[in-house]
């Protein structure tokens, strides 16, 4: 199976968030960008499908500025992806999800792609838009919130579950398609040192982005706000559990006004 997996460099979960000087975006000075969250699961699932279906290839694709985009591509190669393509955007460009999908689509369309895997959403903007927009550009269906993704070679069908508001749905679908992954079969693997060293020398194909895509797309960030620091819980003092319960119900009713 020809598998393409799309990844995005995202600030490390431990990043201390700060607003940039112009007030409109995250200050990325000194922020470490990593392959993370659902994207990490998407890479893991791509590799698991490759291992379960001999003859498959995994091609990792990312769109964004240097150096972070190259770094997540190398991290994916170190994990076992076979090929990498970078849609190289100028430094400082922060495409909105639809623009990112347009950039990715050019690269994906140019390589063999039967199954395109994306993470359900990125941990920074949490838009969850790229998979659907990419599928529309490629002219194929997409399935979101997917888990337990398997390829039934005999029936030539993908079989998977989707975790939606309705419950857990069981699906089957033919290729080609785009899948936005909620969870891989297991926790993402970590790369071994020799593989990391080797990945530094592996080739990465570069594709220029379409010139017509505006720097931020059709949505422009105007403000990035951090909540006032939480001052810590107001602790309830009590001598008996009953007293604790009474006092909590009272503050939820009278102060917080959230008692049902």
């Amino acid at each position: 199976m020809e598998i393409v997996v799309c990844v995005k460099p995202v600030p490390d979960a431990e990043t201390r968030l700060r607003t940039a000087a112009d007030g409109s975006t995250l200050d990325i000075e000194a922020v470490k960008f990593v392959l993370t969250g659902y994207d990490e699961s998407a890479v893991e699932q791509a590799l698991l499908l490759k291992e379960a279906n001999p003859g498959s290839k995994v091609h990792v694709v990312s769109a964004g500025p240097p150096p972070r985009t190259e770094e997540v591509l190398r991290a994916s190669l170190a994990l076992g992806c076979d090929l990498a393509t970078w849609v190289e955007m100028p430094p400082g460009v922060a495409p909105d999800p639809v623009s990112a999908a347009r950039a990715l689509a050019r690269a994906v369309a140019a390589v063999p792609h039967e199954l395109v895997l994306c993470g359900k959403n990125a941990g920074d903007d949490e838009a969850g838009v790229v998979a659907g927009a990419l599928a529309e550009l490629l002219g194929v269906p997409d399935y979101s919130a997917v888990l337990d993704l398997r390829w039934d070679a005999a029936a030539s069908r993908l079989r998977f579950q989707r975790s939606t508001e309705a419950g857990v749905e069981k699906w089957e679908a033919p290729l080609p398609c785009v899948v936005a992954l909620q969870q891989a079969w297991n926790d993402p693997r970590t790369a071994k040192l020799p593989a990391i060293l080797k990945s530094r020398r592996l080739p990465i194909a570069k594709v220029p982005p379409e010139a017509a895509i505006p720097a931020t797309g059709t949505t422009r960030p105007t403000k990035f706000e951090l909540p006032p620091p939480r001052t810590g819980a107001k602790l309830i003092e009590f001598k008996t559990p009953e007293e604790a319960a009474q006092k909590l119900v009272k503050v939820l009713k009278e102060d917080a006004k959230v008692f049902p």
Binding site: G132, A233, L235, E242
Partner: protein, 327 residues
Amino acid sequence: MTGPTLVVGELHDGALSDATKEAVSVAQSVSGKENVVGFLAGSSPRGPAAGFGRCGVARALVAEDPRLDGVAGAVVAHLVASAADSLGAELVLVGGSTFGRDLIARLGIRWNAAVATGVTSLTRTGASFEVRRPVFGGRATETRQLEGAHAAVALRPHASAAPPDSPGEVALTPVPLDGVPASFWAAKRLSVEVVSRGAGPSLTDASIIVSGGRGVRAAENFRLIDELAASLGGAVGASRAVTDAGWRPESYQVGQTGKQVSPQLYVAVGISGAVQHLMGMISSRVIVAINSDSTAPIFKVADYGIVGDLFQVVPALTQEVKRARGQ
């Protein structure tokens, strides 16, 4: 931008979902009541589409076909894009759900719209729209300007209150099903297993959530969490430690890799407050923590805390809640 706003409906237990009603409410406030048009696709959408009338929507489009139940979202997106074009709509609004997000993503291309998902506030600014949405697991909020002639927005659950139910009629107009690529119909939803969650609301819909963590110690003790949630009329959640241990299925997990929730009240019981978990619930309006370890990080983000033995405090709290609610 000018033109009507199209609200795309979704069903829950055979009726318009709360998320859909919330979207109607937001549409009415940004476009005016008379400029809101409903849309519903399904095998028999006419009955539930009457729900638009009870929200004060006078007109709705319906796509009716037995194949539309459990169809890939791509099909509905194409029908919505055609409907939005023929209406001359400026805005498509949908509730905060998996369905809504998928739909909006497609419209970004198919309808050439500026798109935003997980939106908590939508306002008109001159000729375009401005949205506010939590990012980084609720650790920050961004404001974005949506540019261009079309905007497509998926709300976050509970971003707005549903309009009050009132008697009202909606005129239904059928829309054609042509123009959808054949391959989009090829996937099949084989079954839906409704995740058992007792009588309470679902995790993502609930305005009150009680979650249990490692401190609950064993699967059989989780009934303490169930009982407190039931007394409050809320949903039950769990930390990753609990779902990893198999005390509860994955569907209960709140966190970065589980469900992201933003209820009015979140009660964390025996949960230490790892970043992984915080990223799923930090945007809750009021957070209560119950934990025996006073140094647990959850107390840093909670509004109210009880440092105590959950096995004593939780049953007492359940009793007190029942008493206060006259149960």
